[in-house]
């Protein structure tokens, strides 16, 4: 069937199976290298294999929950949103969450996703106690920081290329409410935004939204948003009746692809300017429900369709602390000069490294998206080179078009990862269009 990632680019005809048992999964393995696929939220071709893509949607059962420690054991195909639905009303929230709740636990582990608290708590991998992985020979191995630690470390951020994650135990965090106390600080330029991050190292959550179409002294207008879980006793009375927030509203859907011209530099500029003004108006402290705070785009199902038929590309890199300022300036200047406005652009300060092939490192990560066009593909190559020059690296869960040469030049760990795959035989069992393209 025709398959793509969330960015709807590239599209390929893939053979997809959806086994219901580990035995059936092991059987699927016999027809050649495969890649496991969760809910298809990686943007590019990470979870696509033309010969054998294995949907994990039937591995979606909760197995156990420990009310004293907050340890949840579940199968890899369980959606993060289901975890929240089940446990937020009982006072538990994911310890690390990406910007959408429509991801599977297996996908989150494979990409070692990060959230707005990465600078303090690290990636999703840090919240995993153990994983069960089916290797290339079909045997299932339990691994953790103590047991089969090497396999564990390579699997966190290993993009599903060490084996198929079947189930795992993760830690949830205690929360008193489903509300986030948000502090928004408009920052007129990059320097001010970075200062705001540096001045708030202890804020539990932090992220900045960027208007990347403004140039000159406004180069990148920012709104830096800090947040923390609101304790019950600080919640305004009118919210205290529903401490875990109103139930998520009815999802709106984008039912068709908007024509490509709907997004152009004028509409995007208008949107960004309006958003910035709204940010100025809402500057200061406010209470925001969890779903609006963490998953603003989840309310519009199929929002990826607004980019039209050709789909869109994400660019996300991380730059180390010492080169971040110069690198970000170069990236934002290049983008502003080409006039290719990104609809959604975010900046975030990151904390320590996670798994052995995980994306994050201490520094700043910048994420942008662009509708696919030849011009944008050229722009992204420019951005790749700037990232390389500043010692940065790329987030594979967002990638759809990087070259093997660029990946290996920016990330020496890629060679070690590929070597590990050859030594363990993982390369004979698992491959994706992305791993082929990138020489992993």
């Amino acid at each position: 069937m025709k398959l793509s990632g969330w960015g709807r680019y590239p599209v390929a005809d893939c053979t997809v199976t959806a086994p219901r048992t580990p035995e059936a999964l092991s059987e699927a393995r016999k027809s050649g290298p495969l890649i496991a696929r969760g809910n298809g939220r990686a943007y590019g071709d990470s979870a696509m294999n033309e010969d054998s893509t294995v949907s994990m949607r039937h591995f979606n059962r909760f197995i156990a929950f420990d009310h004293t420690t907050g340890q949840l054991t579940a199968e890899a195909g369980v959606l993060l949103g289901d975890v929240i639905d089940a446990f937020l009303p009982r006072g538990w929230f994911p310890a690390v969450t990406p910007g959408t709740k429509f991801v599977t636990l297996g996908g989150m582990a494979a990409a070692d996703v990060h959230g707005k608290n990465h600078h303090l708590d690290g990636g999703f991998g840090n919240t995993i106690d153990w994983l069960d992985i089916m290797g290339p020979d079909g045997t299932v191995t339990r691994c953790s920081r103590e047991e089969n630690a090497e396999l564990f470390d390579w699997t966190i951020g290993g993009m599903g290329l060490t084996g198929v994650i079947l189930r795992m135990a993760i830690r949830l965090r205690r929360v008193e409410t489903g509300w986030i106390l948000q502090h928004a600080h408009p920052a007129p330029n990059l320097a001010a935004a970075m200062e705001a991050f540096e001045a708030a190292p202890d804020a539990p959550y932090s992220v900045a939204w960027i208007d990347c179409l403004s140039t000159g002294e406004h180069l990148g207008r920012f709104i830096v948003m800090l947040g923390e879980h609101a304790p019950l006793d600080r919640l305004p009375n009118r919210f205290r009746q529903v401490p875990f927030g109103p139930p998520p509203g009815r999802n709106r859907t984008v039912p068709f692809n908007l024509p490509g011209f709907a997004l152009n530099r004028w509409t995007v500029r208008a949107f960004n300017a309006a958003y910035y003004r709204m940010g100025l108006r809402n500057a200061g402290t406010s209470y925001v429900p969890w779903d609006t705070y963490f998953y603003p785009l989840d309310g519009i199902l199929g929002w990826n369709r607004i980019y039209g038929r050709r789909g869109f590309l994400q660019f996300q890199c991380v730059l180390p602390d010492d080169t971040a300022r110069a690198g970000l300036k170069a990236l934002l200047t290049t983008i502003a000069e080409t006039g290719q406005g990104s609809f959604l652009a975010v900046l975030k300060k990151m904390g320590p490294e996670g798994g052995r092939f995980s994306f994050p490192m201490p520094g700043y990560t910048l994420a942008l998206d662009f509708p696919v066009s030849d011009k944008v593909l050229e722009l992204m190559e420019q951005l790749d080179r700037i990232t390389l020059d500043h010692g940065g690296r790329f987030y594979l869960a967002k990638d759809a078009r990087l070259t093997a040469h660029m990946l290996h030049a920016t990330d020496p760990r890629a060679g070690a990862f590929a070597a590990m795959r050859r030594e363990t035989g993982a390369d004979t069992g698992f491959a994706s269009m992305q791993s082929e393209r990138l020489g992993l």
Partner: protein, 245 residues
């Protein structure tokens, strides 16, 4: 909101399991009945963990009619709502050639389900309340060459539900007939189904729950099926017999 127990007959099916999850999310205790019920422990555990509700497993052989009374007696409580998702499609070509295969389809889609619902109906009538939900099929709306064995059994089931509804309408017991079109389940795995006509089990479960609350009588899960079947039912037989649809 009353949240009395919901009994799922044929709980191993994807549709049965999806309906169980939907009712559990709505706060109901769930009774899962199937053959080799103990192998449903992972599902039982999953629903109980997700929704914090009581979920119990009950051994049921839908084709062992004589055991049905004892089965109902063994339930922890007479359910408020009983959903019958028992069914088996088989292969039409096999059903044509092998009468034993055909009989199994008839028994699985008609005799077993009607026997169970008849017994439940009597108990509900005595109590004076309850909802019976039968998962029938659009295949029962008109016999077609490609699956008339299954279709005729479902047609019988649909007629049975209709009669039961008529009998119990003044007795406080509601009977709802569900005619899903294509549903992406184990039964249809590997079939090439048109996306616009195909429902997913969880969406189907939501429709069933909503429709049951509104005491609807007959529902097609995807409204387009109502139109499709209206057309199919009204094609004159002289023409219909020459079509391959």
């Amino acid at each position: 909101m009353s949240a009395g127990p919901v009994l799922i007959l044929g709980a191993r099916s994807d549709i049965g399991m999806a309906i169980a999850r939907a009712y559990a999310a709505d706060g109901h205790a769930i009774q899962l009945a199937a053959r080799n019920a103990d192998t449903l422990e992972p599902e039982r555990n999953d629903i109980a963990l997700r929704h914090g509700t009581d979920v119990t497993l009950h051994e049921l052989d839908a084709l062992d009619y004589d055991s049905h009374d004892a089965f109902l007696d063994s339930l922890p409580a007479l359910p408020d709502i009983a959903v019958c998702t028992v069914g088996y499609m088989g292969e039409q070509s096999e059903n044509e050639a092998d009468m034993q295969a055909a009989r199994l389809v008839m028994r699985s889609n008609f005799e077993g389900p009607t026997n169970l619902l008849a017994l439940l109906a009597n108990r509900f009538e005595t109590r004076g309340s309850g909802t019976l939900i039968g998962i029938s099929s659009v295949a029962g709306d008109r016999g077609r060459a490609t699956n008339y064995v299954y279709g005729s059994a479902k047609a019988g089931f649909t007629a049975f539900l209709s009669g039961l509804r008529n009998r119990l309408a003044k007795k406080g017991v509601h009977v709802m007939t569900v005619k899903p079109g294509f549903v992406a389940t184990k039964m249809t795995d590997g079939m090439d189904l048109p996306e616009k006509l195909t429902a997913d089990p969880d969406k189907l479960a939501c429709s069933v729950l909503r429709a049951a609350k509104r005491r609807r009588n007959i529902i097609y899960v995807k409204p387009v099926w109502w139109l499709v079947m209206l057309i199919i039912r009204n094609i004159p037989e002289a023409i219909f017999k020459k079509l391959s649809i």
